[in-house]
């Protein structure tokens, strides 16, 4: 009987191809996930650093304002001569001396709120909506940044 030495059979070839395809898919998926996770981590870190910086900026800007003058008009927060507005991925602080702006990433959205409660100082709240890293991919988180002014 002639020994079978002339290469792979069709079944062996398919089996090897299937194993290689599975391994390549697994490697691709793993490296893809790694890349996406790293990229998302870097962007998320940037968003949170911006939020931490905005805490100082928001609180310092509003410290010298009187809560009686606070007003929200559309996407604009007004406190006497100070105006804070969100435009073109920036949070712009304008007063008679000029304006400064903080760059926000495209993933961050800004809004404002004023909280008034009896027996407590009024609070101006800057709400930053950032994408959530856990749970649903479309999930969003709202970070509150509180500032209290000086009553007149």
């Amino acid at each position: 009987m002639k020994p079978r030495t002339a290469g792979f059979s069709m079944i062996e070839l398919f089996a090897v191809l299937a194993i290689v395809a599975v391994l390549l898919a697994a490697c691709g998926r793993l490296f893809g996930d790694g890349w996406v996770a790293l990229h998302r981590a870097l962007r998320g870190a940037g968003d949170h650093q911006t939020a931490t910086m905005l805490v100082q900026r928001w609180q310092r800007a509003l410290r010298a304002t009187a809560p009686e003058t606070w007003r929200i008009t559309g996407a604009r927060f007004e406190a006497g001569a100070l105006t804070v507005r969100s435009a073109d991925q920036r949070l712009v602080f304008s007063d008679p001396r000029g304006s400064t702006s903080v760059h926000l990433s495209r993933r961050v959205e800004c809004s404002f709120a004023i909280e008034r409660a009896d027996g407590e100082p009024d609070r101006a709240v800057l709400l930053l909506t950032v994408p959530a890293t856990e749970g649903a991919p479309a999930g969003r988180r709202i970070i509150r940044i509180v500032a209290c002014g000086e009553p007149a």
Partner: protein
């Protein structure tokens, strides 16, 4: 001579089982090294975000109690609870807000599930 040729030809048929298992084991080891690194990136990101949120909660608490001028333990606790509940941390499993009264005042701590401290603030009346 013929026997030698036959043996050589049969060895060229493909991988042996040991070679195949060895190759798969090496691939498995590569996965084993890479997967923890991938999880590490995700965990580090999560911890960083939670620390950042915890610092913002503490900054909000400080701003509110300084504006109110009330540093008594009850007021501080209430403000801390309100700010924690309004933060994204309230929805994170395992993250806890804890207050402790000491001789010097009040200690506010936000902890992770493994008891590590995310942020800590001491307030003395």
């Amino acid at each position: 001579m013929n026997g030698f040729a036959y043996q050589r030809r049969t060895r060229e048929r493909g991988f042996t089982l040991i070679e195949l298992v060895g190759g798969l084991a090496m691939l498995g080891m590569l996965f084993g090294f890479f997967y923890p690194a991938l999880r590490g990136v995700r965990d580090a990101q999560r911890v960083f975000e939670r620390e950042s949120c915890a610092v913002i909660v503490m900054a909000n608490v400080l701003e509110r109690i300084e504006a109110a001028g009330a540093r008594d333990t009850a007021s501080v606790r209430r403000v801390f609870r309100e700010e924690f509940a309004a933060s994204p941390l309230a929805a994170c499993s395992g993250v806890r807000a804890m207050e402790r009264e000491t001789d010097a005042g009040c200690v506010l701590v936000i902890r992770r599930a493994n008891d590590a401290v995310l942020a800590r603030l001491e307030i003395q009346p």
